[in-house]
């Protein structure tokens, strides 16, 4: 039970740090790093749930694989958007992205 609680506490703190990072950073790449930390916290929780609550059902591990896929996709599309934005405006600062508003 202790290990489950330790893992859940680490997951919760990582979620908080990631949320702070995603909301406070002005650069697109740094915002993506915040999202990566949030997803890292989610994965810790999923693995802990699988291992300590239902190790006989492998959909827990499958879910972690899907989250890893989401992380990779977020990076790929995010960098695509960053490259497009950098080509168009010479910067990926989100405070300068007011022109994206409708």
């Amino acid at each position: 039970m202790i290990t489950l609680i330790v893992a859940l506490v680490v997951g919760a703190i990582l979620f908080g740090i990631g949320l702070y990072g995603a909301l406070s950073q002005t650069n697109l790449v740094m915002i993506m790093m915040g999202v990566e930390v949030i997803l890292g916290g989610a994965m810790v929780n999923l693995v802990a749930f699988w291992r300590f609550l239902h190790p006989e059902v492998y959909s827990g591990q499958m879910f972690v694989l899907i989250v890893m896929t989401v992380m990779a996709l977020e990076m790929a599309v995010g960098f695509g958007v960053a490259t497009g934005r950098f080509r168009a405006k010479g910067s990926v600062e989100m405070e300068e992205a007011q022109d994206l508003k409708g």
Partner: protein, 167 residues
């Protein structure tokens, strides 16, 4: 007990490096800190006897963060952090949101009834069980993930590609 100690050790490392990501001014250090944070999460997976996912996490994040470091140096205005630029906004609100999010998750961790703890699963059984899961019950999900990756690759390339006649 040994498992809890190792999980806690890797967990502390993951938290420490996650904090460093947003505290350091150098973008390369920031990317490396995220790499170590994600690798420590992989270490937690290994400590929790999830060998396959642990190794996969460390391998994936090592390559992903190396690529991220290159992009960060390319696109940041002050990649070395020598100019002392402040790259944050709405700091107070973000701190409050982060603290509230973490507290809510901690409250669930401590106050939810988690039920009995399951016995351990041997590594060989795990790999077999995951393989059967992917090839039987979750095959459609796995295939969908593959198609989604392909779509994202095409979309990312299409967005990033230089348009003719624009420059």
């Amino acid at each position: 007990m040994v498992q809890a100690v190792f999980t806690g050790f890797f967990g502390l490392a993951a938290i420490w490096f996650a904090v460093v990501v947003f505290r350091t001014s150098s973008m390369v250090r920031s990317a490396l800190a995220l790499l170590f944070s994600q690798a420590a999460i992989g270490g937690m997976f290994l400590a929790m006897q999830t060998e396959f996912l642990g190794v996969l996490q460390i391998m994936m994040m090592a390559t992903e963060m190396a690529i991220m470091a290159i992009f960060m140096v390319m696109y940041m205005m002050d990649p070395g952090g020598l100019g002392g630029m402040d790259m944050t906004h709405q700091k107070r609100a973000s701190q409050v949101a982060g603290a509230l999010g973490a507290l809510a998750a901690l409250a669930v961790a401590f106050f939810a009834g988690w039920g009995p703890i399951a016995p351990e699963v041997r590594p060989a059984e795990q790999v077999y069980g995951l393989g059967i899961e992917i090839m039987e019950r979750s095959m459609l999900i796995f295939e969908t993930a593959g198609v989604t990756i392909l779509t994202a690759m095409i979309a990312a390339t299409a967005i990033a590609i230089k348009r003719r006649g624009k420059e």
